[in-house]
């Protein structure tokens, strides 16, 4: 049933693409055969096979292919689906969730999966000596969850306080094999476990595939996990594919050429706007399928350093942190022109952190800043107090959308009498200046959200959060409106009534729009491409767009010829 929903959404998305050639896309999912293999390209190598310590996209992909979780957020429909847990109930006070685990499930090495593995995985994620990157994303309002095994196939997850998104948060925790890693956790060496030298046979998982070969700098080969527990609705054991080869192609141009030439089947990231034309030609020739997934969840944004006292010794202190400056910037930029130049027209204007793609949480009721250069000029003049405003805008070198976007911001602000010195830095230098909190005026960057549910991105909204860009990790809210957002968000997270949560969140977005601590201009449309023999795609807007549910991906026709 869930599969059908995924396919329906996938099909709806495909219809959106202009001049789609008649392709085997029409093949119903249920007709997709079992077998075949897939070649996928990825630009960076995984840093480790241990998802506990790494959060790079490549390690994440290895985890997606080889591990399973209690629940899975359907990345296409945003619904929470059962996975290792078959069902769950919530206690009356909303604090305890009792999850029934799927019986008769075994790890890829044959060891049975039990509630102990769930308890172990939580312990591993929260372990101090491991300092797992997963710990950050397993917090309800900044506090840890607890878990207990009732019997071999039942666990109780307890939240420290009522938590609106509920079990959705469990999508952040892959289940690790206790029998393989228990010793490392006890010895405090878990962070070092499953490094890239680990023989593939040592890495046991519950996911649809198992790692069979790793050639450093070249490729990873994954083969079907025969112990994988899911079946499709016709009873065919999943995954459909026999093998997935991940080729490491560091250059994006080469990646696109490989896809176009049929040497790979898909990429693990969205394509750049400039790749659209060549891939469209390849699609017209029937070699690839091009999918327009609609507007992205994330947009680049500009924020100022709002840390109190950051400009204490600076004559610009009288205006640089004022709300009016940011409002003027927001008014000065023609968002249509912005989308046309930066995304070649494949983008839409946005006015806040939630883009229209986030159907559940985006609200059209939130005020949108009009394009009004004359008003912006007057506003700037009113606060500048005779100074001619000038600031530096840091951005990351080498990312086209950032480089172009900052150039347009510079041009548009020049028209209202504000001089912007765009300084492109390498990513590390940029982050270093940002984290230190004192080394910058303003930054133009993209900090991608990890979840569409605002309750699962607390670090952005709360003043104590680490992704509260304009003033990170405040001890107490620096402004009255940040305090208000904190209060509203705390309520929003604690509520389990979806309508109430939406209402509160619109309120939060209103306050945000009024003060615009981060200014947003446009969000791109997301395009992905795959070879035309790939079927069953339920593409998602976030990475890996075509591979978030690898167990359901299939290929049409015979096994691919070797090249």
């Amino acid at each position: 049933m869930l599969l059908a929903a995924g396919v329906a959404i996938g099909a709806a998305v495909m219809i959106g693409v202009r001049r789609m050639p008649p392709a085997p896309a029409a093949t119903p999912a249920t007709l997709a055969g079992r077998g075949g293999d897939l070649v996928v390209s990825m630009r960076t190598e995984p840093a480790s096979f241990n998802r506990l310590t790494r959060r790079d996209a490549s390690t994440e992909l290895v985890s997606i292919l080889t591990q399973a979780k209690l629940v899975r957020v359907n990345r296409a429909s945003q619904a929470v689906e059962p996975w290792l847990a078959t069902s769950w109930t919530r206690s009356a006070d909303g604090l305890h969730y009792t999850l029934a685990l799927r019986p008769d499930v075994a790890f890829s090495d044959g060891q049975p999966f039990t509630a102990d593995d769930v308890v172990f995985s939580f312990a591993a994620a929260y372990d101090d000596r491991t300092s797992s990157v997963l710990a950050d994303s397993l917090q309800a309002n900044g506090r840890k969850l607890t878990v207990a095994a009732l019997d071999a196939h039942t666990v109780v997850v307890t939240f420290p306080e009522p938590f609106g998104p509920g079990v959705r948060i469990l999508d952040n925790l892959p289940i690790f094999p206790r029998h393989k890693l228990q010793a490392a956790l006890a010895a405090g060496t878990l962070a070092r476990a499953w490094d890239l030298k680990t023989p593939p046979a040592e890495i046991a998982g519950l996911g649809p595939f198992v790692l069979s070969e790793y050639l450093p700098g070249q490729r990873l080969v994954f083969v079907r996990n025969p112990k994988y527990f899911l079946r499709d609705d016709r009873g065919t054991p999943l995954p459909y594919l026999d093998r997935i080869t991940v080729e490491i192609i560091p250059d994006q141009n080469a990646e696109m050429l490989a896809l176009e030439a049929g040497q790979t089947d898909m990429t693990t990231d969205a394509m750049r706007p400039e790749d659209y034309a060549p891939l469209h030609r390849a699609a017209d020739a029937g070699r690839v399928r091009l999918l327009d997934l609609g507007v992205s969840y994330d947009a680049d944004s500009l924020w100022f350093n709002l840390k109190p006292g950051a400009f204490a010794q600076d004559p610009r202190a009288s205006w640089i942190q004022r709300d009016e400056l940011r409002r003027a910037i927001s008014m000065a930029v023609d968002r249509k022109r912005f989308a046309d130049t930066v995304f070649l027209g494949a983008g839409v204007p946005v006015f806040g952190p939630e883009t229209p793609a986030n159907r559940e949480w985006f609200s059209a009721d939130v005020p949108q800043t009009p394009y009004d250069p004359a008003g912006a000029r007057a506003l700037v003049a009113s606060i500048a107090g005779g100074q001619s405003p000038r600031f530096t805008l840091l951005t990351q070198k080498g990312r086209t959308s950032l480089e172009r976007g900052s150039a347009i911001i510079r041009d548009e602000l020049q028209k209202i009498g504000v001089v912007v010195d765009v300084v492109p830095l390498d990513g590390n230098a940029l982050i270093q200046r940002f984290v230190s909190g004192a080394g910058y005026d303003a930054i133009y960057f993209r900090a991608a959200a990890t979840d569409t549910d605002p309750a699962l991105t607390p670090d952005f909204w709360f003043s104590f959060g680490s992704a509260h860009m304009w003033n990170i990790a405040e001890k107490t809210p620096a402004t009255q409106w940040e305090r208000e957002i904190d209060t509203l968000m705390a309520k929003q997270i604690a509520s389990s009534d979806l309508q109430e949560r939406k209402r509160l969140f619109v309120e939060v977005q209103r306050i945000f729009a009024e003060h615009q601590p981060a200014v947003y201009f446009a969000a791109p449309r997301v395009f992905v491409a795959s070879s035309s023999r790939v079927v069953n795609n339920a593409p998602a807007l976030i990475r890996p767009q075509l591979l978030w549910a690898p167990d359901r991906v299939a290929v049409a026709g015979a096994a691919r010829p070797t090249h």
Partner: protein, 316 residues
């Protein structure tokens, strides 16, 4: 001779030490560290602090450096943070891949560039030398990034050759060896083309200078056939400049090329170095730089020996 070698060896060891130490200092001076790289912009302060502690990045630099030296003496060059593997493990693996590429490219460049340089240098004008000269200049004025991208683009559009990677899969048509050879063509050509052009230009200049010298003039005046003078007499003297930089070329080739290895997905040392630089992977950067200096020291030794062979007057 033995003392000469010993002195070279001492200097080589010193060079390796100086280069890797300087790299450590430079990585330290560059903004950001491995924690900012791996955790990104929204990292929790505690997580970042824990990561730093785990990799020992929170200790004073003097202490880190002392530890590194003590371990390096025992041939333990630390552990790469980005790859979570010992540096001494990673480098040989990639260096071998780069060496395959480097020697293929060097052979191609030498076999093509030197003879062409002799032709253009010994003949003043004519269609052939002009053509060779124009091709050389074209190759020299193309950035390596563009040359490799263009070759990959050609490979993709014609479908004649694989686009990237090193191949070597045993089930490929023609077996493992042939598969590697097929994958080798594009990156080796991308490296060899500008190199061949460089050899051609240098050899050409040296050749035309040598031919103007009295001993060649005298030989010609004595009635020795021109081709014999060119290919025997003048050539030996004219090899001097190319020989003198041959060591540098070997050294830099073995350290790997960022642009070529990136674009053609060749899993070599250049790519490893670039990744290490980006990730602020301190010990891996130092290791790569050390490897580069070993290659360079070896290369210059070879080229000095060759120089002595070509031109005994240059020997000690």
């Amino acid at each position: 001779m033995l003392s000469y070698l010993a002195r070279r060896l001492i200097f080589a060891v010193f060079l390796v030490f100086a280069v890797s130490s300087a790299s450590l200092v430079l990585v330290r001076l560059a903004p950001g560290d491995y924690a900012t790289e791996s955790l990104g912009i929204a990292a929790h302060a505690d997580t970042a602090a824990q990561t730093r502690r785990r990799f020992g990045l929170d200790r004073p630099f003097a202490e880190q450096y002392r530890d590194w030296i003590v371990r390096a003496v025992h041939l333990d060059f630390g552990r790469s943070m980005a790859y979570d593997r010992p540096v001494s493990d990673l480098i040989p693996e990639r260096a071998a891949n780069t060496a395959v590429l480097a020697f293929t490219a060097l052979a191609m460049a030498t076999l093509i560039g030197l003879p062409l340089g002799i032709i253009t240098g010994s003949r003043r004008s004519g269609l052939l030398p002009d053509l060779i000269r124009i091709v050389s200049v074209t190759l020299l004025s193309m950035p390596p990034l563009l040359t490799s991208l263009f070759l990959v683009f050609l490979a993709a559009r014609t479908g004649w050759l694989p686009i990237g990677g090193m191949g070597g899969s045993p089930d490929a048509a023609g077996g493992r060896f042939l598969d590697v050879v097929r994958h080798l063509v594009i990156p080796a050509a991308a490296l060899a083309m500008p190199l061949a052009a460089m050899f051609e230009r240098m050899q050409s200049q040296a050749m035309s200078e040598t031919i103007g010298q009295p001993f060649v003039m005298a030989a010609l005046a004595r009635g020795v056939p021109r081709s014999r003078v060119v290919w025997r007499g003048a050539l030996k003297a004219a090899l001097r400049p190319v020989t003198s930089i041959y060591g540098l070329v070997i050294g830099t080739l073995l350290s790997g090329s960022f642009a070529v290895e990136m674009i053609t997905s060749w899993p070599g040392l250049g790519r490893l170095m670039l990744d290490a630089l980006r990730a602020r992977d301190v010990y891996l950067v130092a290791g790569c730089a050390a490897a580069g200096s070993v290659f360079l020291a070896a290369g210059t030794l070879v080229s000095d020996a060759a120089l002595a062979l070509v031109d005994p007057r240059a020997a000690e």
